[in-house]
């Protein structure tokens, strides 16, 4: 496995970063997110996980750029998970085209069911009626950064099997819900017997795998940005007449952040390379998500500590990265869920000595 960037990959990361930084600046200045999604789509950033494998590092690099620039759109979902799910659906070609172009937004709903994220709240339910499948129930934390044309809803059928449906947004009720990561607004979406077209099993897998890769790559970008902000601040902020970065206590926080960030980076790259082709002896997506839980929280804590009081003010960008990191930690399965999935492979079935 190659864990060095080619020149082309460097260029991809750089170009995506520039584009997303512009988008973030425009949205902060009041631009409409839906229009910005169109711009991102036109530039090709929403299609990196839709072709046949191998996908290389591009999906991870683009998602990482989204995290680093605090792109005010849920990139893991709209840029990777949904396009990949649609690409695995033969009947979804026209939808895929519209989504990759950024003309339509189809949002994941009810993903909790796949990754034990519901914490007891009832999942969406699917029933087979005379005219086909209908979906009912409420899904929380559905992206509301841009208006959805429709939803890719994960729902449990009467036997409890998870199925994925494309549901148009016509007959749903949307309730905006305040959330901590306000750069990516969310809503609760209620379906009341809404008609859905079922996507194949491969789409379910693509949605959860690429959602996990995307969220962990975005998280990498977030923690990388926090490290860089903290290091830059430690060089410029003076106390006792010298930059605080000359004090070992501060220096060591920065070094620890660096180790966590760069270790997470190789894990994220391996996850992207093996998102769909799992020929290796270990699931790299689960490895990365497992480590991200710890690295994300620890870097966030240390970056804030290095900034001191200024980092805890609303006008400083740090808290937005912190909140994004926290949200992404549990998106598409938290560390505990991914470790349990590793455990099923690596612990269960071991015979007693």
């Amino acid at each position: 496995m190659k864990l060095l960037l080619s020149e082309e990959e460097h260029d991809i990361a750089g170009a995506a970063g520039l584009c997303f930084a512009d988008v973030t600046a425009r949205v902060t200045a009041g631009a409409d997110r839906s229009a910005e999604l169109g711009i991102i789509g036109e530039l090709g950033w929403l299609g990196t996980a839709t072709g046949p494998p191998p996908h290389g590092l591009a999906p991870a690099l683009v998602a990482e750029a989204a995290g680093r620039t605090l792109l005010p759109l849920p990139f893991a979902e709209l840029g990777l998970a949904v396009p990949a799910a649609l690409a695995a659906w033969p009947e979804g070609a026209s939808l895929l085209e519209a989504v990759v172009a950024g003309r339509q937004a189809w949002s994941p709903a009810g993903v909790d069911l796949l990754v034990d994220g519901g914490r007891g709240s009832p999942p969406l339910r699917a029933a087979l009626a005379a005219g086909g499948w209908v979906v009912s129930g409420s899904a929380h934390h559905v992206q509301a950064a841009v208006a959805s044309t429709g939803y890719l809803a994960v729902a449990a059928d009467e036997e409890g099997v998870s199925r994925l449906f494309a549901v148009a947004a016509d007959n749903v009720e949307i309730e905006a819900t305040p959330n901590a990561d306000e750069t990516c607004p969310v809503s609760t979406v209620t379906f009341d017997g809404a008609a859905g077209r079922e996507l194949p099993r491969a789409s379910v897998d693509a949605l959860s795998r690429w959602g996990a890769v995307g969220s962990v790559a975005e998280l990498l970008g977030c923690v990388e940005a926090q490290r860089d902000l903290a290091v830059a601040y430690a060089k410029e902020r003076k106390q006792f007449g010298v930059p605080i970065g000359s004090f070992q206590a501060v220096k060591h926080h920065c070094a620890e952040m660096h180790v966590l960030v760069e270790a997470l980076r190789v894990a994220v790259w391996a996850a992207a390379i093996h998102a769909v082709e799992q020929e290796e002896s270990i699931d790299h997506v689960a490895v990365a998500k497992s480590y991200a839980g710890k690295a994300g929280m620890q870097v966030g804590k240390l970056a804030l500590q290095v900034h001191g009081g200024i980092g805890f003010t609303w006008e400083h960008p740090l808290h937005r990265f912190l909140k994004r990191t926290t949200r992404l930690t549990s998106a598409f399965g938290d560390a505990g869920w991914h470790r349990e999935s590793l455990a099923r492979c690596h612990l269960d079935g071991l015979s007693m000595p």
Binding site: G245, V259, V287, E340, L342, A343, M352
Partner: protein, 397 residues
């Protein structure tokens, strides 16, 4: 990696594996994960082993042919280290000579020094130790007090080195000493190649907290060093020492990730037979989580060694030994803490019916703790990462 290179690596790996298995000492259990005591390491994997490796074309793999090496790639070096670890073969007794002194001799040594020493390193004739640390020069290496006085034809060394690993089994020591008695700090230092089998040298092993006696005090009281054995010029010791340390790159970790993963797998195997709160430990939610956290980290460690290999191959600046060492020591210590927690009261038992395996975790935990001190403390490593990689300003220590 291109396909031709990859298939070369695969066939080299199988060649190395077969050779190692065929030459394992009698009675050596390659499936074990225990740490062999020093006497056993010396008996099985001492000078004789180094020589056998050389005769098989497997010692000094990535050293250039002109210096007696095999001229192989760094990837092949990695294969040898990984395959050795897979059979629980300990790290080479002559590690510091092969990884640090040798390359420094190639860079800064005289032709005479190269001819005299390089071949003898690979043949196991000269085992070397590293004489850097002193009672007052640990993290603060520039505070060297050991001196060398001018005498006819060379230097007479006086002073004390400390924490000198394996000095009691070594023939020679590359030592940093003060050749200008009036000098301060980094000036006036020189690196000397000191023979240890002479009257002016006394080596006293120190018993360590984990029961081993790997490190030593080395006393110099008029030990003689010829002019020809000054490495890199009189007064140039700081620069030479920096070169030596610069070779302490990520390669040290190339076999370690295998060693580490095997130890984790052994621990998991052990856990399948242990009951905690009435259930097997491998079905206990807490241990499942902890084991898989450890597995994920050990996999990331492996990936980091792969990335380091890639960087060394492409001659990008390596990620630095500091980075890998920090990641490794933290992970190792967490894993051994997990072992103690898993074994409970049995962790204290080293042998006998109540000792649940032969890995002696009660002591291995201490070995793990020592890793964030030995070879540059974690505090110093963090300073290096912060200052050289992140560009933070130097400050008061």
């Amino acid at each position: 990696m291109d396909p031709i290179q990859q298939s070369t690596e695969v066939s080299f790996r199988s060649h190395v594996r077969q050779w190692l298995i065929a030459h394992l000492p009698e009675g050596w259990d390659p499936t074990s994960t225990r740490t062999a005591p020093m006497e056993e390491r010396l008996r099985h994997f001492g000078r004789g082993w180094e020589r056998r490796l050389l005769n098989a074309g497997l010692n000094g793999l990535s050293w250039p042919v002109e210096f007696g090496g095999q001229g192989a790639t760094i990837a092949e070096e990695m294969v040898l280290l990984e395959e050795s670890a897979r059979l629980n073969i300990p790290e080479s007794i002559n590690n510091v000579a092969k990884t640090m002194l040798g390359p420094t001799l190639m860079a800064h040594g005289t032709i005479e020094q190269q001819q005299r020493y390089l071949g003898r390193i690979l043949s196991g004739e000269h085992i070397w130790c590293q004489g850097f640390s002193e009672p007052d020069a640990g993290s603060d290496l520039a505070n060297i007090r050991t001196t060398a006085e001018r005498v006819m034809g060379g230097w007479s060394v006086h002073g004390q080195k400390l924490w000198t690993s394996r000095a009691q089994y070594s023939d020679r020591c590359f030592a940093i000493v003060r050749t200008d008695a009036e000098s301060q700090r980094r000036a006036g230092l020189s690196v000397l190649l000191v023979a240890l089998d002479q009257p002016g040298v006394a080596v006293r092993p120190l018993r360590q907290a984990n029961g081993d006696d790997e490190f030593n005090e080395v006393w110099f009281d008029g030990a003689l060093v010829a002019d020809a054995d000054v490495l890199g010029g009189v007064g140039d010791g700081w620069r030479v020492a920096r070169t030596i340390l610069s070779y302490e790159r990520g390669t040290a970790h190339f076999g370690r990730h295998v060693r580490f993963r095997r130890q984790l797998e052994q621990l998991i195997k052990l856990a399948t037979g242990l009951e905690i709160s009435g259930v097997p430990a491998t079905t206990h939610a807490h241990y499942r989580d902890q084991f898989m956290e450890a597995l994920a980290e050990s996999e990331i460690y492996r990936l980091l060694t792969r990335r380091e290999l890639g960087r060394l191959q492409s001659e990008e600046v390596g990620m630095q030994g500091s980075f890998l060492k920090l990641f490794w020591t933290e992970m190792y210590q967490r894993q051994e803490r997990l072992a103690l927690e898993l074994l409970g009261p049995h962790a204290d038992l080293l042998d006998g019916p109540g000792a649940l395996d032969e890995d002696r975790h009660g002591l291995r935990y201490l070995s793990a703790l020592s890793r964030s001190i030995a070879g540059g403390t974690s505090e110093i490593q963090r300073n290096i990462v912060a200052e050289t990689t992140l560009g933070l300003p130097r400050g008061a220590r």
